[in-house]
């Protein structure tokens, strides 16, 4: 009896430790250096290939239903001869305080122990609440049953499910690659090291503008880059605490005002 009480007290005290529920195994973070980004769109293409995204066609894109999880936003400043075009790759920011997670009634979207904002496709009932609450408009909905015709079905990634009609999805930080790397590390009796995991976009980026890693690991590349004076987060004032860190572009006239 005394032993049981002691065990209960021990469990109780662990949970009473400040920050227990916020402690994460990893804090996967992406750093995007806008100074290196040239807006080529290779990341977008690799995302389509890696994550089995359907190509929806001209009409659907025309009504703003393009399916890319990762998009390159272009903003034009100035009048014709003196024009500056700026671009910024935007994907799910994996907010630590995500508005979408509070919206879902069935826990189809929640925060996992890796600090990722994950989406459970099979649990989604399609209330659209997460997408409505999302401040970055990065969630994509399966408006129809998107078919992969022959021979396109041969190029589908077997590690990623093909989603059915009526559910919400978004960038997962290539969770299938994270899982694979963690499994491999576990089999070898090691922990995941910096550089073991690369998301599809990071792997593809020709200029090396994107970096992926664990922010909790102080020696990782992202942890070092995250200390850059050029760092900022998208719509930081909304206090969603995103996991994607942007590094401001340096222009001729100093750091850019809009990223």
């Amino acid at each position: 009896m005394a032993g049981l009480l002691a065990r209960i007290a021990e469990r109780w005290n662990i949970h009473r430790e400040p920050g227990f529920f916020k402690k994460l195994d990893h804090k996967w973070t992406m750093v995007i250096d806008l100074d290196k980004c040239n807006g080529c769109g290779a990341c977008v293409t690799s995302c389509y290939a890696e994550n089995n995204l359907p190509v929806v066609g001209k009409e659907e894109c025309g009504v703003s239903r393009a399916f890319s999880w990762l998009r390159i936003e272009r903003y034009v400043e100035g009048e014709y001869p003196d024009v500056k075009v700026k671009f910024i790759p935007v994907m799910c920011q994996h907010c630590s305080k995500a508005p979408c997670e509070t919206g879902c009634p069935v826990y189809a979207t929640y925060h996992n122990q890796d600090g990722l904002n994950v989406q459970v496709y099979n649990r989604c009932v399609g209330t659209f609440t997460c997408a409505t609450y999302c401040t970055y408009d990065v969630r994509r909905f399966n408006w129809r049953t998107y078919k992969f015709e022959q021979p396109l079905d041969q190029q589908l990634n077997p590690d990623v499910s093909v989603r059915e009609m009526g559910i919400m999805e978004k960038c997962t930080f290539c969770i299938q690659r994270i899982r694979a790397a963690k499994d491999k590390a576990k089999d070898e009796g090691k922990t995941v090291e910096d550089g073991d995991i690369q998301t599809a976009c990071v792997q593809t980026c020709p200029t090396g503008a994107m970096t992926f890693g664990d922010l909790q690991d102080a020696d990782s590349k992202v942890a070092k880059l995250a200390k850059s004076p050029r760092r900022y987060k998208l719509l930081e004032e909304l206090n969603t605490d995103p996991s994607v860190i942007y590094l401001k572009r340096v222009m001729k006239e100093g750091p850019s005002k809009h990223g």
């Binding site: 239903r65 998009r71 509070t102 826990y107 649990r123 989604c124 659209f128 408009d137 009526g166």
Partner: protein, 442 residues
Amino acid sequence: MDRSITYKEATEDISGIITKTGWRYYAILTLMGVSGVSFLFLPWAYQIYAGQGVTGLNAPIFWGLYLVNFIYWVGIAHAGTLISAMLYITHTPWRRAIARGAETMTFFALFLVTLFIFIHMGRPWNFYWTFPYPSQREIWTSFVSPITFDVFAIGTYTTSSIVFLFFGMIPDIASLSHTTTGWRKSLYTFLSFGWRGTDRQWHLQAKACMFFAAFIMPLVVSVHSVVSWDFALSVVPGYAKTIFAPYFVTGALLSGFAGVLLMLSVMREAYPVIKKYVTAYHYDRVTVFVVVLSMIWSYLTLMEVVTGLYANTSQEIEHLKYKLAISPFSYLFALMIFSNSVMPLLYIFKKLRSSFIGRFIIPVFVLVGMWLERFLIVPNSLSRKFLPWMWHDYSPTWVEVSITAGAFFFFISMFMIFIKVFPIIAIFEVKEDIGIPMRKPH
């Protein structure tokens, strides 16, 4: 109430609505039923088959006409609750003749509310996942989600409304079982649950009604507040407003009372015998509510705009600019103000209250205006969220428009079937209104 009406006359008048049916009733019912099915259920079946892609929804605008209709019908349901619960507890005499009709409206409006929740879902066949039920997968629902609040609020509301409606009907059903024959007699006999009209039964019935009236009363305020939190608990510029709960509740009651007025007026024209029981006095009372609610609503609408201006963030300003000027639907704002703030003020003139304008025109304007209010809030706010790259306009497709219209036809057809099965005016309460015969002045 005309005190010279006898009890027998009241019973015969009101049960006459149930039993005497002309060809016009069948013609309208067939028209409404067929329109309801073909405008509401066939497009919905098509949508379930083809996916939400058949609607006009797109990447930033995930909530469109279906959510608008959802809020709208919750609003329509509210007056029934107010009349049946709040006015029951305060023993307001004029509620007796109109309460049953209003409660019936509540019931069928809530039916449509549930329908629209299913219609707007991506995978409606999985709706039961939103209920907390024990399963071997050990997955629970998220109690921080406003959608879960909705499930509970509307579930409670629907259940208690049905129970309240039914409890209030038992004495009438029992009295009808004595005068009818055939399937009606067996139905009424079953539904009256052995009501014999003893003192004890009357006592228990009044007690039960009082209990449920007290139970429902907080729901008048809470249900639509919860519905407003679907929006107010987000961070989207047009949605995240603390004023939304009272704003939505006021709007709901305003549209609900307009709905009750229109319903009474149509009933009076269809069955002139009702004119004996629903008189100019009732219009006089209900319209006072409409004027007051309209004024509160106008104030809150102003406050909604001013709060956005006062916040003075670029997103709020952009949202207001879009809503009032740039949006393809911005001209509707003026129509909304005209029909919700200006038109009900006509009720200040006592003569207009029970005139044709007061009975038909103003309620229709308010009903349209309140629909527009929800429409201007729901898709318009999503058109201008944070990142300008994703700004997009919304244009509904024929599927959404057809389902919206079909809901009205379906509502009317269900209501028409109800009035042929159950008394639309509470017979025993009308008799209370008439008073005890022995005490009549000679």
